[in-house]
Every structure is written in C-alpha cells, then in structure tokens.
C-alpha cells in the first residue's frame, strides 16, 4: 500500500503527483522528462519534496504538516536504479548481502531463494566489472530484495539494456512480480513492460499525475493519448489457455466465453495469461465476414467513439466483458454508420498478438 501526494521541483519542471496504489505491481508510466525519476527519488528519500505526504502501508515516511521526513536508511525501500550501481570493489555475493553486513538489515528472505529466483547462483564469486548489463541488473534487484524492504522501487531497470538483454531479464521480472510478496513500484516508459508486469497504472505527464487505476482500464481510456503516446495505444485482455498448441501451432485462449487462436505461445492448459492488442491491429466489420484469412473475429459492442478531429477515431468495444480498442479512420466510421451501442465484429490479425507480451495474469 503506497500513498503519494506531493509537490516539488524536478529541475525546471513543477512536480505535483497524487496517487495511491494497493499491493502488487504499480507502474509509474510517462515519457522521458515527465519527472518519473524525481518522483521515485522523493519516495525513496533522496530528494525532498516541497510539501505533501508519502505513506507506505499507512505509515508516513514523509509528511510536511507533521514534520516527518525519514532518512533514506530508515525508509526500508529497496531501490533498483536505471544503472545497476553495484559496488565495483565487492564480489557479487558481497554486493547481494551488503544490506545485511553494512546496513544491519535482518535476513527475512533467504539468500538461496533470491539467488534462485533471479538465477544468480553461478555469479556469486564474480566481480561486477565482469558481468553483462542484464546480469548486473539482476544482481541489483537481488541486492534490493535482500535488504528487507517494505516496498521495492524499480526505476527503469531495463532502460539501459538492448532488446535481447531485455528479453533475457523479463521472465525474471515476471517471476519477481508474482513472488516478491511486497508492493513494487515499477517505473517505465515502455507500455509493453507496463502492460506485462503491473496491476495498477499511474500516468505521469509533465510532472502531473492526470490519472491512475487498474492497468486494463487505464489502457482503454482514449483521453490519455498524449500522455501514453498514441502509437502505443492498445488494450489488455485477461485470459486462460484452454488448449495447447495444435498441429498448426495455434494455442487456444479463452477470454471469457470467446476464444482466440494465438501462434507461438508455449503455455500449459489452464495458465492465466494477459494479451495486449494494439488498437491499430484491430479492424471493424458490421457482419461476420466470409472468405477471410483473419482467424480471430470477436463479436462485440461499441461502447464509445472518441470525439477527435484528424483522420483517425478511437473506438472502444466491449467483448465478453473486457475492452478491445480499435483505431480506424473517421471516414470508415461515417461510412459504416458506427455509433455507440452498435454490435460489430472485431477482426484481429492473429499475428498481432505478440508472444513476448505473455504474462501471468491475476489469478
């Protein structure tokens, strides 16, 4: 449980942020320069806000009214920075246990459990200088986890890694987010990471927090286009694998009475997964279409059409109780006579569902 309501300065930018997040993974999402790092530094106690209140699990760590401002050391926040910030003169093992021997933090979490979770067992005697970027970042995460934190902040842990390294580390983050057992604040400017890892989304734009809420609801909102970046727009669907890959290599996923067929998805029957479907990959038809290569055709009902000028319209449709977002031209909207409440068929090219965005959903 994290409550933040602070104002302060981030360089030239006036920062005013207000959100609260229950347990699980909360993403702080915004473009570069939106003030994400400053805000996390305020929560961690590295930067002092001008005024406001920050509370973790109901206990204030900063409160300008009652004059509370706990030191970095006593906030018990595990902080994973953009650059791993490992101590270069210490072995991986000494880095991991630093909080215990230098910070006198209790060993609430077993060392073996953390090294196992992050795949660090083989690296313990190495020096940070000999590790790859992804390995460094995993050590940094382990080091923070072993400091007995009540909140874990991860400030763009993947930002300095190339795509291949990111793909290496993401499965570890999946497991971490599911098994950490403490609230996590995950900072990112990548909507893919946010959609994959988090339950709550806080949008930070120009130093302000215009909106926060459950991640699927936030991604479905059409009024936040500028803050989230238009080309990224899409929607999240929660589902469960009902049939493993068939002879054609397609896996069947049930999203609540409606089935989707997804290629290259290796998961076991019954596994909960989360799918992200980009708005630009969805087309709209009035009737079921025959003679079409697209396999995923979902019946839905239009819930809203964005009032925008410009050539495109954002359409939200309800499908089996979830929301799918489509971007089509305004010309098509007029031609098809689309309006709110109208039943439609949504055509999704199955290849548009990227297996990298597979993530354990809330179960």
């Amino acid at each position: 449980m994290l409550e933040v309501d602070v104002s302060g300065r981030a360089g030239e930018l006036a920062l005013k942020a207000q959100f609260s997040a229950s347990g699980g993974v909360t993403s702080l999402f915004g473009q570069s320069g939106a003030g994400k790092t400053t805000l996390t530094n305020m929560i961690a106690g590295l930067v002092r806000p001008d005024e406001g209140r920050i509370a973790i699990n109901g206990i204030p760590v900063f409160d300008s009214v009652s004059g509370i401002d706990l030191s970095v050391q006593s906030r018990r926040i595990g902080h994973v920075f953009q650059e791993a910030r490992l101590f270069p003169h210490l072995s991986v093992k000494a880095n991991l246990t630093y909080a215990r021997w230098a910070g006198r933090r209790p060993s609430t979490r077993s060392f073996e459990e953390v090294t196992g979770l992050l795949g660090l067992s083989g690296l313990l005697n190495r020096k940070p200088g000999t590790l790859s970027g992804g390995e460094k970042q995993r050590v940094a995460i382990g080091r923070a986890l072993l400091s007995d934190p009540q909140l874990l902040i991860m400030d763009e842990p993947l930002a300095n890694l190339d795509q291949a390294r990111r793909n290496d580390i993401l499965p570890y983050l999946d497991r971490l987010c599911n098994e950490a057992g403490i609230p996590i604040l995950y900072v990112s400017h990548s909507i893919e990471e946010v959609a994959r890892l988090s339950q709550t989304l806080v949008i930070l734009s120009g130093g302000q927090t215009p909106a926060y809420g459950p991640v699927a609801d936030m991604l479905a909102r059409t009024d936040l286009g500028r803050a989230t970046g238009r080309h990224e727009a899409g929607a999240l669907l929660e589902g469960r694998i009902t049939e493993e890959a068939d002879e054609w290599g397609l896996t069947t996923v049930d999203i609540g009475g409606v089935e989707l067929y997804i290629p290259d998805l290796d998961g076991a029957t019954g596994e909960a997964i989360r799918l992200r479907i980009r708005a630009r990959d969805v087309a709209v038809a009035l009737e079921p279409v025959s003679g079409l290569s697209i396999r995923n055709v979902l019946p839905g009902q239009i819930t809203s059409i964005s009032e925008e000028t410009g050539p495109y319209a954002e359409i939200l449709c309800s499908v089996a109780g979830q929301t799918v977002r489509a971007r089509i031209t305004r010309a098509s909207v007029a031609e098809l006579g689309l309006s709110e409440g109208k039943p439609v068929q949504l055509l999704i090219k199955s290849v548009a569902i990227d297996k990298r965005q597979r993530a354990p959903g809330r179960s």
Partner: protein, 213 residues
C-alpha cells in the same frame, strides 16, 4: 611517522573538500596548499613561531600534555608532515571526486549509515588515490629540508633527517664516503617505496575490476 599522523587527517580534509561546499571552502583549500607554494624556510619559521617553546600552540601543548615539538624528532616529523600535507590531499581529493555519489546513495538505500557508507564504499574505492598521495607525501617528507632545519635545526641523533645528514656530510671534507652511503640508502628506500606502491596499485586495480573501465 609523519605519514601515519598526516594520512588520516589528509583523508578527512580531502573528503570534506571534495564532497561539501561551505563558506570558507576556498580559504581552507588555500591554507592546505600553502606549504606547497611558500618557500620551505617560511613554513619552518611559521612552525617555529607557532609550535616553539614560547609559541601559542607550543606552550599550550607543553603545559597541558607535556609534549614539545621544538628541537626534537617529533618536531622534525611535524615539519615533514606539514610539508607533505598538500601533496597528500590533492590526489586523495581527486579520487574522492571521481567516485560516483550515486553509489553512496545506493548504499544508503540498503540501510548503511553515513560512516559505514564511507568505510565500505567510498574509502575502498578511493584507495588507489590514497596510495598515490601517500607515496608523494612520503617522498616529500623524506626529502624535506628547509622547513625542518628552520624549525628544529640539525641536531645529531635528534632532528637529523636523512636529507639533513646528507647535507652535513657534504659540508665536511672527510664526508664523501658517508655522503655516498646516505645517497645509496635514500635511493634504495625511494626505489622500494615506488615498487611497493606500483605492486599495490596493480592489485587494487584488479580488485576494482579495471577490465570494466
């Protein structure tokens, strides 16, 4: 001896100068560097005025602790220490400044108190610079002449440093052999110190994972 006392003091001063900006920062910096630019004889004379038997600091020390610096070996050590101080401070300060404060932030977020952060992160990372400073300071202290002879004179067995002894030997007509012997000793000590520091520095670099840099 001079080095043992001066080194911790130099580390403290260097750290403060590197990490903090305060009123009088420039003045402290200038004061530290004074012995480097002043003629050594001036420094020796100032020491004599301050720490001599009747000097303000000298008489205070003598009355409260019974310590006297004037005309004995502790005085020679003090002179050497003061002269070596700026040479100690400079490289140490530079190596402190080269350490990323972000590492110290990370250590704090892991619960380490300031002094622990300094001992476990800052100091080990600054070791190469501290070593460099110590070697420079050692060389300066060994060769120190002007301030020593002004402050504590040249008393055999008491304040006669290597440099002073060498000077004395060259002044007497029969001192050639002694002078040559002293030169040899000086060369051996200096050479040994340089080799030792080089070996130490190499080991430190390896420990810090220099292949990364």
């Amino acid at each position: 001896m001079a080095l043992l006392v001066a080194l911790p003091a130099a580390i403290c001063v260097a750290y403060v100068l590197a990490r903090y900006r305060f009123p009088g920062h420039g003045a402290v910096n200038a004061l530290v560097h004074m012995p480097l630019v002043l003629p050594p004889v001036v420094t020796g004379y100032v020491l004599l005025l301050a720490f001599g038997r009747n000097g303000p600091i000298g008489s205070l020390l003598r009355e409260t602790f019974g310590i006297s610096f004037a005309f004995n070996w502790t005085g020679a050590a003090l002179a050497a220490g003061v002269m070596a101080f700026p040479l100690l401070v400079r490289p140490i300060r530079l190596s402190f400044e080269a350490i990323d404060p972000k590492l110290e932030e990370a250590a704090k977020s892991l619960g380490a108190r300031r002094i622990v952060v300094f001992l476990t992160v800052t100091l080990p990372l600054a070791l190469p610079g501290i070593l460099g400073g110590a070697i420079l300071g050692f060389a300066k202290a060994m060769g120190e002449f002007g301030a020593t002879i002004t402050f504590v004179s040249n008393i055999p067995g008491e304040t006669r440093t290597l440099a002073l002894a060498l000077y004395t030997a060259t002044q007497s007509p029969s001192g050639d052999v002694a002078a040559f012997r002293l030169t040899l000793i000086a060369a051996v000590i200096a050479f040994g110190a340089l080799i030792a520091s080089e070996l130490l520095a190499r080991r430190l670099r390896k420990q810090l994972g220099a292949e990364d840099a």
